[in-house]
């Protein structure tokens, strides 16, 4: 069958088009093992966004457990709904949490600031950390410290993505907005205005990539 057809090598953009249509997260992650180029394509920030915007995958829920004494640090559990969807409706259902978000410096209080495109922004003991809970391949990215960030109320932090400018934005308590586009270094800031945000228990759709700011 296939012998009658010459199988051509597919260019990267076509491989991307195929991988982004994989119907479940596990299949995408297994494809990272095929070769280095495939892994690189899957880890591109635009891969996560593209898959997220397709909305064809069941969401993953992220649960937070606050720290409880020195032996029980703050924890995040990830629940993949494609495996657990049927069980969610049952009483006394046992759900399998897949893995936990890597948190530097265990034992400190951790707060979710926001999430978008599958990235989660955390406040870990005065560091703002952006991590990728679904792929969880690399340590999270710790944002560079900003001047006067912690002088005002922490309850007003926010994290979001602006499709119009194609930038991730992070808002401090004073209402200033700092922004960063994929792959660029550092944050620009901080004008007025507000960013639309997704808050707390996060529906992180699809496979997300670490954004290398």
């Amino acid at each position: 069958m296939a012998a009658t057809t010459t199988i051509s090598k597919l260019p990267d953009d076509v491989i991307f088009d195929i991988l982004v249509r994989m119907p479940d997260i596990k299949s995408v992650i297994r494809c990272k093992r095929v070769c280095k180029k495939w892994r690189k394509l899957i880890l591109l920030p635009c891969f996560a966004k593209s898959q997220s915007s397709r909305g064809s995958l069941p969401p993953s829920l992220i649960f937070y457990g606050p720290p409880d004494g020195p032996t029980n640090p703050a924890r995040f559990g990830i629940l993949d709904l494609d495996d657990n969807l049927d069980r969610l409706g049952c009483q006394n259902a046992t759900l399998t949490f897949r893995s936990e978000i890597y948190i530097p410096r265990e034992g400190y209080k951790v707060r979710v600031i926001g999430a978008c495109n599958g990235l989660v922004c955390l406040d870990v003991d005065k560091d703002i950390v952006v991590c990728n809970p679904i792929l969880q391949e690399r340590p999270p990215f710790v944002l560079p410290k900003l001047p006067h960030v912690f002088s005002s109320s922490r309850s007003r932090f926010g994290f979001g993505f602006s499709p119009s400018s194609d930038e991730y934005k992070w808002q401090n308590g004073g209402g200033s907005i700092y922004s960063s586009s994929d792959g660029s270094g550092g944050w620009r800031g901080g004008g007025g205005g507000r960013v639309v945000m997704t808050m707390m228990v996060v529906a992180a759709r699809g496979v997300v990539a670490v954004v290398e700011w």
Partner: protein
């Protein structure tokens, strides 16, 4: 349809990589953004448009898809959907690859969508070694690197070698 009457006499000739010529009605060719742009910018004054990357077998399939979609009215979406799934049914990987390449080159979004989706659905449950063979991809990981990728994503490889 008014448009097809109006364009009835407008046809263009496409030539495949292996030299076969296809006479195509203009409204069918317009399914391809590449051809549409060529027609808009009047690059089509040549009698024959060569498509050096697409063989005759693939081009015939592509034009079959374009004709069906160009002729169907919007009220026949259900019919088009069943045409699409029937169109790719039983197609081998080699033919699918050629089709997805042609759709990418000729910029036919609908065809690219269904062909890429079909390939994704076919490889989703296959082990990575088999995927490498299908795509003719060489494993460029060292054994240590490959083990690290597997270990970092252990949960996804449960039940896989």
């Amino acid at each position: 349809m008014a448009s097809s009457i109006e364009n009835n006499n407008e046809k263009l000739t496409l030539k495949s990589s292996d030299g076969e010529e296809f006479l195509v009605e203009k409204h069918v060719a317009l399914q391809s953004t590449l051809l549409q742009n060529m027609l808009d910018s009047d690059c089509s004054s040549a009698d024959v448009i060569p498509l050096p990357k697409i063989d005759a077998r693939t081009l015939a399939l592509v034009l079959g898809y374009c004709k069906k979609h160009a002729d169907a009215s919007s009220s026949k979406q259900g019919e088009l959907n069943s045409f699409d799934s029937e169109f790719l049914k039983d197609m081998d990987m080699g033919a699918l690859f050629n089709l997805v390449l042609a759709a990418n080159f000729m910029e036919i979004k609908g065809l690219l969508d269904i062909a890429a989706q079909k390939i994704a659905d076919t490889i989703k449950d296959k082990p990575h070694q088999e995927v490498r063979e299908i795509f003719h991809v060489e494993n460029d990981y060292t054994p240590e690197e490959e083990a690290a990728v597997r270990e970092e994503n252990r949960w996804a490889f449960e039940g896989f070698p």
